[in-house]
């Protein structure tokens, strides 16, 4: 008999239907765990399986949907292996030895970080233990299903592939808006699963076949992998508190026939479908010829909820998360100032980037650790897909593994060593691989030479089953001032790769202008020319007005901007006035009142405060500016806040303006010349995920000259104590919002007292009061951010005395 891998996509393959409704009819009570029945009611489970085997399905699922260590902490292995064993018995009893047992894996029921508290590696581990047990018990394939978070689906696929060689199928669920619960679109989910190397992918549960049709159509048009469709018997309805589904077997089969017509060869059912639905489906569809499936070959980079398609409109990859030539960025990397690094990403998103390049390599830091952390943090705040940019394979693997989505990978080149290191990672985790057209012989100086390297890379990629659509070639922009033919060679390379290989292309545009004056001018023209030659994406700074003017103009001219809509909305405000002026989102820039630094801070005007401080820097020393303007202005606002005439948001506006002014001065100051009053640890305690209050306190403390070591939220007491000891910290601030987490605050205080008795502890948060603070043994209770600043001042002036 042909193997399953040889059959999929080439012949009809039918799955089983729902199990929950059937088990309830057999007597399973609401709230009872269905998988428990593998041990307590084996004959019922065999009956369930047999129903579908008799209906004629080719693949049937083990009763293990919710079987994981969270639901079965005691006897998971028994529950899983019994499910597989019973499946084999049912197969024998029904004379269906040809049928295949799918080890069924459903979601854990917990949300992954950063939304929830389940770490990615723990999720992988949870799935891995089910896979190992199920496979050794004799499953024929693994079906990961009903995933509503694509990140969790990724964890399950990796766990499966790391623990067996069986075929892996993965189906996910969408709501009526065609989104997964954590935001992935049909195209995004398909791209991510395809990248992870599943043998088939698709959709199940949540919707009926009718509602699923348009989603299936999108998946078929986005992915090159065989598609599975297992719908419910319609949308759920309730009657007397009971959920039911009401599409009849005939109607179900009719809808499924239409879905099959889209090129879907793997069909079955989910909630509410019964053996009757499945046998009707098989009768209706199996007599039809197996449809020819087209391979759309589209290139997608994706995050967990965002997507960028390459090969249509030219995409912008923001280049600013990169330390090369940037003093402040390097300092931020050394100091682990993540807010600065992430902020650089968000500014580019606001500026119009479609993807963000992430390069955090610096010789003196642990790049792998930093890259993983920055990728996590970026993904917790932006939905833009990322381009992981590193030459260290260890760092690359760590980042790709925890990346939520299908990343761009920057980069591989034609050297054997590079391909050996990078391609296995791209094959395992998926990704859109940026390939530089150079090899052991250097950079070819002709388009023919570069094209030949591209062909060599494609050939090598085939060995790893990396699809050619997932390789994006960098045509290599070389300095035109040293070789006046170089721009033409690059443009010709791009054109040929696009036209003859059908692959996407990318350029780091600015290299072209090294050594020339007015670099942005030539860069923007070069970008437009490259776009005309079919450039798929450009690595640029989206906040550079000249570059964006070139980009927007080229989009308008190349039919990439319908009705010149984007061009108009970007430039209409400028009218016919001379010079470039793009409409940027800077609310404070509109208010053009007063440039005196004191009042800018008092009124919270950020960009004016920046301008005013630059003016002052021409005549005054930074420390004098701080003493004469910043601190008095902050104090005035702070006193107003304490009296109740100024409210929290106004206080924060001033704090933001002061922070911006400090940042300008920091640029002008010699490193180390700033006066720091002291180091303060801030943390939201273990179990608590609220950090807005803590962040407010942080901003205020920083403005008043403290160096804040921000340990984040949900922080382990051990980490707080360790850090306090290691850095000899005099003051720790703890925050908790919930009554339930004040317990961990108390625990943290106890541990700190034991490990570092001389450290003062100030506590705050919505549920805390002075009495509460006294009860749990804190040194002080701060009712708000200003109170914390005042207390810090008292602690540190005491220490000086």
């Amino acid at each position: 008999m042909k193997s399953l891998r040889d059959r999929i996509g080439k012949e009809w393959i039918f799955f089983d239907g729902g199990s929950g409704t059937l088990l309830q009819k057999m007597g399973l009570k609401g709230g009872e765990l269905p998988e428990r029945w593998n041990l307590t009611h084996p004959e019922r489970i065999i009956e369930l399986y047999s129903g579908y085997l008799n209906a004629g399905c080719h693949i049937f699922n083990t009763n293990t949907f919710g079987a994981n260590r969270f639901h079965y902490p005691e006897d998971l292995d028994e529950v899983v292996s019994a499910a597989v064993r019973l499946a084999d018995q049912a197969r024998k009893q029904t004379g269906r030895k040809d049928a295949l047992i799918a080890l069924d894996i459903g979601p854990t029921g917990k949300l992954l970080e950063p939304i929830g508290d389940l770490s990615f590696e723990e999720a992988v581990d949870v799935f891995a233990s089910v896979v190992r047990t199920g496979v050794s018990a004799g499953a024929d394939l693994v079906l990961i299903e009903t995933m509503s978070d694509i990140y969790e689906a990724k964890a399950a696929v990796i766990a499966t592939k790391e623990n067996c060689d069986l075929p892996v199928f993965c189906t996910v669920t969408f709501d009526q808006n065609a989104k997964m619960l954590t935001g992935a679109s049909a195209e995004g989910a398909a791209a991510i699963l395809e990248g992870l190397g599943v043998d088939a992918l698709g959709v199940n549960c949540s919707l009926g076949p009718k509602e699923m049709f348009p989603i299936v159509e999108r998946i078929v048009n986005a992915s090159d992998v065989p598609v599975i469709v297992n719908p419910n018997a319609g949308l759920p309805k309730t009657k007397n508190g009971m959920t039911y589904y009401d599409i009849t077997p005939d109607d179900f089969a009719g809808y499924m026939e239409k879905i099959a017509g889209l090129g879907v060869t793997m069909l079955g059912g989910c909630c509410g479908t019964t053996p009757k639905h499945i046998s009707r489906l098989i009768e209706t569809v199996s007599c039809k010829p197996v449809p020819e499936r087209k391979q759309p070959g589209r290139t997608f980079a994706a995050s967990g909820s965002g997507i960028a398609e390459l090969g249509k409109k030219t995409k912008i990859i923001g280049e600013r998360i990169n330390p090369t030539g940037k003093k402040i960025f390097k300092q931020a990397l050394r100091e682990k100032n993540y807010d600065y690094i992430i902020g650089e990403g968000l500014k580019q998103e606001d500026g119009g980037a479609d993807l963000l390049d992430v390069n955090v390599g610096l010789p003196e830091i642990d790049e792998a650790e930093m890259l993983e952390t920055v990728v996590r943090k970026l993904q917790s705040v932006t939905t833009l897909p990322l381009q992981i940019d590193t030459s260290d394979p260890v760092a690359l693997e760590r980042a790709l593994r925890i990346y939520n989505g299908k990343a761009m990978i920057n980069s591989v080149n034609g050297k054997q060593e590079s391909m050996d290191a990078v391609m296995p990672l791209a094959a395992k985790y998926g990704g859109v691989l940026v390939a530089l057209c150079l090899d052991e012989n250097g950079i070819p100086d002709t388009a023919e030479g570069r094209f030949a390297v591209a062909e060599k890379i494609l050939k090598e990629a085939e060995k790893y089953h990396i699809r050619r659509k997932d390789i994006v070639f960098d045509g290599l922009a070389m300095t035109v001032s040293s070789d006046s033919k170089s721009a033409l060679v690059t443009l010709e390379t791009i054109r040929r790769i696009r036209e003859e290989l059908g692959c996407c292309t990318v350029l780091g545009v600015s290299n072209i202008s090294f050594g020339l004056p007015q670099r942005q001018m030539i860069n923007s023209f070069f970008l437009a020319m490259a776009m005309q030659n079919g450039l798929s994406c450009a690595i640029i700074n989206p906040n550079n007005d000249t570059m964006m003017a070139g980009y927007l103009s080229a989009c308008a001219l190349l039919n990439q901007d319908p009705q010149c809509g984007e061009y108009i909305s970007a430039f209409a405000a400028a009218g016919e006035s001379a010079g470039l002026s793009l409409k940027r989102n800077d609310a404070s820039a509109v208010q053009n009142q007063g440039t005196d630094l004191f009042s800018c801070i008092e009124r919270g005007l950020i960009s004016q405060a920046e301008k005013a401080v630059s003016e002052q820097l021409k005549v005054k020393k930074p420390l004098d500016i701080i003493d004469e303007f910043l601190i008095p202005a902050l104090d005035k606002v702070g006193q107003g806040f304490e009296k109740g005439t100024v409210f929290l948001p106004q206080l924060l506006m001033s704090a933001d303006a002061a922070k911006a002014a400090f940042a300008v001065m920091k640029n002008a100051m010699e490193p180390g010349s700033q006066s720091i009053k002291g180091d303060v640890i801030l943390a939201t305690v273990k179990g608590d995920i609220h950090d807005i209050g803590k962040n407010i306190v942080k901003v205020m403390l920083e403005n008043y000259g403290y160096n804040v070591i921000d340990l984040g939220k949900d922080v382990d007491p051990e980490l707080i104590a360790d850090t306090a000891v290691e850095k000899n910290i005099k003051l720790v601030g703890l925050s908790a919002l919930m009554t339930t987490t004040v317990v961990s605050m108390e625990e943290t205080i106890r541990l700190l007292r034991k490990r570092k008795p001389d450290t003062k502890i100030v506590v705050g948060g919505a549920v805390l009061t002075q009495e509460y603070a006294d009860m749990i043994g804190a040194d002080a209770y701060a009712k708000d951010a200003m109170a914390t600043v005042r207390y810090a001042d008292s602690v540190f002036s005491d220490h000086e005395n």
């Binding site: 509503s148 619960l181 954590t182 932006t382 609310a587 948001p649 179990g687 995920i689």
Partner: protein, 219 residues
């Protein structure tokens, strides 16, 4: 969906609910606009039989002792367990805003809270309509964590309304819901209006020390 109550947003921001500062109002408008565009609110609800004896409340296989809940559900024979959420994108937007500045973070936090409340009220409207069809009236919404009702009840409520599958809301180890802008609540269905007020604060045993109430309201 109902509109978010801007007075509540100002209150969460520590401002006087009735005083408008145009600079802050502008930020609130922007935050609400972006949140509305990005969020995908969803909900779930289940009706189960209820009995109340003394301070003991029993429904859907749960038995819990809470004086405040028993008072709220007194006279009801059915309870609706509801859950609703703004979804995961709201969380991301709050985190994003917090990176930009503490003010942005606070404004998004407050705006999303008010939106979650408005969404909860919208779902409550639907449940009221369903109750009317049965000839019943709804009692005021009551959530774990209100008054003396333990937060640990969450686990049971999640069992009754399987919202993890339908809305993606799940519980952390410390019984907090994620995504954070999510609400679970019990709504009693009876034949007479509830004796307690619709003003949640007045019924709450913690009202006097609540940090979210301004001085004027505590009197």
């Amino acid at each position: 969906m109902r509109k978010a109550d801007r007075r509540e947003i100002r209150r969460y921001l520590g401002m006087d609910p009735l005083t408008e500062d145009p600079r802050i109002e502008e930020r609130i408008t922007e935050a609400l606009g972006k949140l509305e565009k990005a969020c995908s609110p969803s909900y779930g609800r289940e009706y189960v039989d209820l009995s109340v004896e003394g301070d003991t409340v029993s429904f859907g296989g749960i038995e819990t002792v809470s004086r405040n809940l028993a008072a709220n559900l007194s006279g009801c024979d059915e309870v609706c367990v509801m859950a609703c959420t703004l979804g995961a994108e709201a969380d991301r937007m709050i985190r994003r805003a917090s990176v930009i500045s503490a003010l942005e973070g606070a404004v998004y936090q407050a705006s999303a809270s008010a939106m979650a409340e408005a969404w909860c009220e919208t779902v409550n409207d639907l449940i009221r309509e369903e109750a009317e069809k049965k000839g019943k009236v709804c009692h005021p919404r009551f959530s774990p964590g209100y008054g003396d009702l333990s937060l640990s009840l969450q686990k049971d409520l999640f069992r009754i309304v399987p919202i993890t599958k339908t809305t993606g809301v799940s519980l952390t180890e410390s019984m907090l819901m994620v995504p954070v802008k999510s609400v679970t609540a019990l709504i009693g269905l009876g034949y007479e209006e509830c004796g307690t007020s619709e003003n949640k604060c007045i019924n709450c045993t913690m009202a006097d020390e609540c940090p979210y109430r301004t001085e004027g309201e505590k009197e």
